[in-house]
Symmetry: C2
Subunit: 281 residues, 2 copies
Amino acid sequence: IVNTADDFELYGLHISPDLDTVMYTLAGIANPATGWGIEGDTRATLDAIARYGDDPWFLVGDQDFATHILRTHALHEGRMLTDVTLRLASSLGVRMPILPMTDDRVATEVRTADGWLAFQDYFVARRHADEVLDVRFAGIDSARPSDRVIMAISEAELILFCPSNPLVSIEPILALSGVRDAIMASPAPVVAVSPIVGGKALKGPADRMLASKGVEVSARGVARYYEGLIDGIVIDAEDAAFADDIRGAGLAVDVRNTIMGGRDDRMRLAREILDVEWVPR
Amino acid sequence: IVNTADDFELYGLHISPDLDTVMYTLAGIANPATGWGIEGDTRATLDAIARYGDDPWFLVGDQDFATHILRTHALHEGRMLTDVTLRLASSLGVRMPILPMTDDRVATEVRTADGWLAFQDYFVARRHADEVLDVRFAGIDSARPSDRVIMAISEAELILFCPSNPLVSIEPILALSGVRDAIMASPAPVVAVSPIVGGKALKGPADRMLASKGVEVSARGVARYYEGLIDGIVIDAEDAAFADDIRGAGLAVDVRNTIMGGRDDRMRLAREILDVEWVPR
């Protein structure tokens, strides 16, 4: 289940950064150097757009454009983002379902000293340099999780919050009407993987965002942030000192190496977490 | 003034084949080998589209996609095709205005033994192999030439019908309400360049289409086809034998080498035709 509150339009094309990163990664074609886009992708289309006088601030490779073109076309024809995503991913050989959190439009906006900014403006154009004073998800009140999302939660054997940014990558999913209830109602254990290791985010602005939100920037802070929703948390060996404290709050704690350097690390960590005997409270 | 009745949508993008060929040619970036597209263009986007399961029948290069993406975006935002075209061409350094014949949608359809086909289906997908039994321009009755088109005709010093296919490239322009009247009302001489040389079209199916329409496939046949509208015609030296006959019908005839092998030939022919002392009847 993937956050779509970062989605935006570029040159009239519907871009879903998180869906694409997950899809390209699972398809084995992701660019490991950048963390986004397709490995070996070229830039002829974007260079030609620049020749027409546009100053590209969001990099889209030629192969990546194909995804956006086909997605946008299908959406304009009235298809749901869920169906479009499943079809695109399936064409790339991805067998596990990648579910957009909703078929409706939700847009993350962050408040900075310069006022409210669209997420990609803050994150990409301004390189997440601004201090984030507040976060909101425009459209969240009228958006609904898709039936497939609710079904996936209720049928899950384990519900895992990946070590993404809690405030802008996980929270939009949780903020959708019915998602928290579905998670609480599910018999499956609910486990988070801490994105904070040694007091820092491994990637991106999660640490600074948590701090300005008044959340302790530590594995313990993450555990508290998700309190009431999770049964356990995976924290890095470097943060082992927090384990007792978190256990004291009633959560199961699994301590291991959570740093993922590449594909092999990701598969190892996923397998290890699946192998833990998680027990719902 | 360029035909837009070949325009169509591909993957939701608005493609204007004739506008693009004229724009790329005048910008000096056209692919001389194909007659369409951009020189040195690559195919990463289209190959990626194929990876998603589509079987591309219309070739679009990566740089070419930039044109279609920006055009489509601007049209969706409510801008007129004329403005969009002028802006794109200007960004490529084209100083002369390229005017779409209309801002409205007109769609050429051809009747074959298999029924009515969309033009690009006939022309590209089926490689213009079918015999064309009839041609129609869907939407032509409600379409209007743009003000810029009528102004260009009325202010012209010379009105030249390029050696394009009379039935599907020139005729849609002439069929627009008000265009014939504007040409007749213009004080400028009106001159056609015959696309038929030695009884054959130099390119494309114009010869077969004229034949099935009952038009003699010769420079004389072209002169007759445009009769009542043109004051003169440029025919190839190979067709000099038709000159007296055409003159007998009251038209000025200019005989010269009309075969254009490349950019230099095109510029030479254009200059030569401009240098002729054309006199309106």
